[in-house]
C-alpha cells in the first residue's frame, strides 16, 4: 500500500512488521520519532514486544545483545554521540555473531555539538564487523530493514546489520512509500530460529577469552563471512524483488553509467541530488553518471571496479572525513581502483555537507567543474571563506 509518510514513521512501521521480540533504545535526535512510534505501537497492542527503556545507549546496545543471545529477534536505533557511546558494545555484538539490526539516523559528532546530518557517526564503528548499509530514500530505508533481518539471520552470515539513513533528510522527510503488507513480510522473513543461544537445556558459554593461539582465526572468520556476504546481498535483493515485485537495494546501484566518462560516487540521500545533477549535465551533453554504494561493509570492490573501469574521472563525494586523512569512501575507492594500474581513472575526493550544510545542485556542479582541473584528495566544498580568517591563508 502506498502512503505519504515521514521516514521515521515508515521505519517504525516496517520494524513492527519484522516482529522483533525485544526493542531497547535511548533517545537521541534525530532517532527519537522511530522509537517513540514503536513504543506507542506496543502500548496500543499493535504488536507484542518487550520495550526496554534504558539509561544510556551503552545499555541499549547491551540489552539487545542479551536479548538476541536468548534467540529473540531484537532491534535498536541511535545516532551520533549515541552510536559513539555504544561503540564498545557494537564491536562486541559483531564479535559474538549476534544478528541484531540497528537503524542509525546519521548525524554529525561533537565538538562542536551539532544535531544535523552528515555520516561521521557511522565511520567510528566502520571496522566493527557490522554490515553497513546506506539508504538513499525513505522507500529504500524501508526495504533495507526487511532485507537487513533476512541477511543478518542467514546461517551463513550471523552478523549484525546497520541501516544508515541520513538524519532529518530521511528521518523527518516525507515521501510516498510503498509499505509492504504484514503477510508479505512474514513470508519473506520467517520467525528467527537458532541453536546459537543461551538455553538451559543446552548450556553454552558465549564470550570466551581467546588467547593469541585462537584470536586471529576468530577475527579472520568474520572477514571471510563478509566476503561471503558480497554474494548473499544480491541473492537477498533478488529474493526481495520476487517477493515484493520491485527492485531495491543490492551492493551498488548505477545511474547513467553505460557511457559515463565522469562518475560521481556517494552514499545515502545525497545520491538523490546527484541524480538530478546528472540529468542536468546530460541535458548539456555531458557524459555524467552516478554510482551509489549501498553496502559500505562489506565493501563491494569487484562490483565497483566493474562499474568504474571505463570512467575517465571519478568524483568521490564524502559526507564525513577521517581528520588528518581523507574522506573514508575516497580512501576505500582509491584502494579498490588502484588494482586497475595504469587504467585507473583520475580520482578526486570531495567533502561536503558536514554538520547539515546544504548540498545543492550547485554543490554537485562545483564537484563536476573541479573534476577537470587539478586532482584533489579531500577538497572541502562550500566553505565560508569569511569565517576562516587566517586559517586558510
Amino acid at each position: 500500500m502506498k502512503n505519504f509518510i515521514e521516514g521515521s514513521h515508515a521505519v517504525a512501521e516496517i520494524v513492527k512488521k519484522c516482529r522483533p521480540g525485544v526493542i531497547s533504545a535511548y533517545p537521541i535526535t534525530p532517532q527519537t520519532h522511530i522509537v517513540e512510534d514503536l513504543a506507542k505501537m506496543i502500548a496500543d497492542k499493535e504488536f507484542e514486544a518487550q520495550f526496554v527503556n534504558v539509561e544510556s545507549e551503552h545499555s541499549a546496545a547491551s540489552v539487545v545483545l542479551g536479548a538476541e543471545a536468548t534467540g529473540v529477534r531484537s532491534y535498536t536505533a541511535t545516532s551520533s554521540q549515541g552510536l559513539l557511546l555504544m561503540a564498545e558494545v557494537v564491536f562486541n555484538i559483531a564479535g559474538l555473531r549476534l544478528p541484531v539490526v540497528m537503524t542509525t539516523a546519521n548525524r554529525a559528532v561533537s565538538a562542536p555539538i551539532n544535531i544535523w546530518n552528515d555520516q561521521q557517526d557511522v565511520m567510528a564503528v566502520r571496522d566493527s564487523g557490522w554490515v553497513l548499509l546506506f539508504a538513499e530514500s525513505i522507500q529504500e530505508t524501508v526495504d533495507l530493514h526487511v532485507q537487513a533481518y533476512r541477511l543478518a539471520e542467514d546461517p551463513r552470515v550471523m552478523l549484525p546489520v546497520m541501516v544508515n539513513m541520513d538524519g532529518f533528510i530521511l528521518t523527518h522527510g516525507m515521501e510516498v512509500v510503498d509499505m509492504p503488507a504484514q503477510e508479505e513480510v512474514d513470508k519473506f522473513l520467517p520467525a528467527y530460529k537458532t541453536a546459537y543461544k543461551l538455553d538451559v537445556d543446552d548450556p553454552k558459554t558465549m564470550g570466551f577469552l581467546a588467547d593469541p593461539d585462537y584470536y586471529m582465526e576468530i577475527r579472520y572468520m568474520v572477514q571471510e563471512t563478509h566476503r561471503e556476504i558480497l554474494k548473499i546481498i544480491p541473492e537477498v535483493a533478488s529474493e526481495f524483488k520476487k517477493a515484493f515485485k520491485r527492485e531495491s537495494a543490492g551492493l551498488i546501484e548505477g545511474y547513467c553509467l553505460e557511457d559515463a566518462e565522469q562518475i560521481f560516487v556517494a552514499m545515502g540521500s545525497v545520491c538523490g541530488t546527484i541524480r538530478d545533477a546528472v540529468d542536468e549535465l546530460r541535458k548539456k551533453g555531458k557524459k555524467a553518471g552516478m554510482l551509489k554504494v549501498i553496502s559500505y561493509r562489506p565493501f563491494p570492490k569487484e562490483a565497483i571496479i566493474a562499474a568504474l573501469s571505463k570512467a575517465k574521472e571519478v568524483a568521490v563525494v564524502d559526507k564525513s572525513i577521517s581528520l588528518g586523512g581523507f574522506g573514508p569512501l575516497y580512501t576505500d575507492l582509491s584502494s579498490a581502483l588502484s588494482s586497475l594500474g595504469p587504467r585507473m581513472p583520475k580520482m578526486s575526493g570531495f567533502v561536503v555537507g558536514l554538520g547539515g550544510r546544504d548540498i545543492t545542485l550547485m554543490t554537485i556542479s562545483e564537484v563536476y567543474e573541479k573534476l577537470s582541473s587539478k586532482q584533489t584528495d579531500c577538497a572541502f566544498l562550500g566553505l565560508r571563506q569569511e569565517l576562516l580568517g587566517g586559517v586558510n591563508g
Binding site: G21, V22, S24, E48, A49, Q50, V52, N53, V54, E55, S56, H58, S59, S62, V63, V64, L65, G66, A67, E68, A69, T70, G71, V72, S74, E88, V89, N92, L96, L198, D199, V200, P203, K204, T205, M206, G207, F208, L209, A210, D211, Y214
Partner: protein
C-alpha cells in the same frame, strides 16, 4: 566427585575466594540459571577458549554491562514466556560493580528486572594487578594507592554499595562472606525466591592481592566479619537484619595477616583509624550480639 555446575580445571589462584563464592552461588541457583558475567578474574580464569567451567548458559560481553545484558536476557525470556522457570544472575567483581558498572546496575534496579546481581568483592582490580577500586577499604596498600612516606594507602572509605542498591527500593539486598558458606547459600536461595531485582555482595579474599597465605582464605574472610570491618546483613523490604558477632575481635588480628595492611602494623594511629571504622560499623549495623 561432587556434582557442580562450576567445573574444576579453571585457572584461579590457589585459595581464590571468588572461585569459592561463584561455585557456591551457581550450585545453589541450580541448572535452570543463565549467567551474564562482567569482565574480570572470574571470566578470565573460567572461560579460556576453547574450555569453560560453566555448566549453565553463560555470557560475557564487556566490563561494565552485565546488568544491561541480563536485562536483555530477561526481556528475551519474558517475550518467550520462559522467565518464570529460569533464574538470571548478573555477576561481577567490585570494580565492575561499584565503579564502571554502576550506571547499568542502577538502570537494571530502576526498571525492576527479575535478576539477581552478585558482586564478588575482593576490594580491588585484581585482574589487572591490584589497583584501587571504589570498594577498596581505607588505608589499603594497592598498586595505585600505594603506601609511602607521604601516604598511608587508599585515603577513602568503601563506597556503600548495599545502601546504594537498597536506595533503589529493590526487594532484597544482602551482604555475605565466603567465610560463611551456608549463609551465602541461604541468601542466594532466598534472593531467587523473590521476584524483581536483588543485590548480593559477597566478601571474597584474594590471596594474591591481599597478600595472605592461600590456606588462610576462610580465616581471613571470617576475621573481616568478626572485627566488624565487613558487616553482614540483609535488607528486606527496607528492614535491616544484621548477622550478629558473638565475640568481636580487634582489627589488628585481621590486618596483621595481610600484606596489604603491613604498613599499618607499626603505626598505632593508623590502626586506631581502622578500629574506628569497625566500631562505627558495629554501631551502625547493630552487629554486637546480646550478652
Amino acid at each position: 566427585m561432587v556434582e557442580t555446575l562450576f567445573k574444576p580445571g579453571h585457572t584461579a589462584c590457589a585459595g581464590c575466594g571468588q572461585a569459592i563464592g561463584a561455585r557456591l552461588v551457581i550450585d545453589t541457583a541450580g541448572k535452570n540459571t543463565i549467567i551474564a558475567n562482567n569482565t574480570g578474574c572470574l571470566e578470565v580464569f573460567s572461560t579460556k577458549y576453547p574450555e569453560s567451567s560453566w555448566g549453565v548458559p553463560w555470557i560475557h560481553s564487556l566490563f561494565e554491562n552485565c546488568a544491561a545484558v541480563a536485562s536483555g536476557i530477561e526481556a528475551g525470556l519474558r517475550f518467550l514466556g520462559k522467565k518464570d522457570s529460569i533464574n538470571i544472575i548478573a555477576q561481577a567483581g567490585d570494580g565492575g560493580t561499584a565503579d564502571i558498572g554502576l550506571q547499568a546496575i542502577s538502570g537494571m534496579f530502576e526498571r525492576g528486572h527479575d535478576v539477581l546481581y552478585v558482586c564478588y568483592d575482593n576490594e580491588a582490580y585484581m585482574n589487572t594487578g591490584i589497583q584501587r577500586s571504589g570498594l577498596t577499604p581505607t588505608l589499603t596498600d594497592t598498586t595505585t594507592s600505594p603506601s609511602g612516606t607521604g601516604s598511608e594507602g587508599n585515603p577513602r572509605p568503601k563506597k556503600p554499595m548495599p545502601e546504594i542498591a537498597a536506595a533503589h527500593g529493590i526487594p532484597y539486598v544482602a551482604t555475605a562472606s565466603v567465610g560463611y558458606p551456608q549463609d551465602v547459600q541461604k541468601k542466594v536461595k532466598k534472593a531467587l525466591s523473590i521476584k524483581g531485582p536483588k543485590y548480593l555482595q559477597i566478601h571474597v579474599p584474594c590471596p594474591l592481592g591481599w597478600r595472605h597465605e592461600p590456606g588462610l582464605t576462610f580465616d581471613v574472610a571470617k576475621l573481616a566479619v568478626e572485627t566488624g570491618l565487613y558487616p553482614i546483613f540483609e535488607y528486606e523490604n527496607g528492614q535491616m537484619i544484621p548477622r550478629k558477632i558473638a565475640k568481636i575481635k580487634p582489627v589488628e588480628e585481621y590486618l596483621k595477616v595481610q600484606g596489604r595492611f603491613r604498613h599499618l602494623i607499626k603505626n598505632p594511629e593508623a590502626i586506631k583509624k581502622v578500629q574506628a571504622i569497625a566500631d562505627a560499623n558495629i554501631q551502625k549495623y547493630n552487629l554486637k550480639a546480646e550478652a
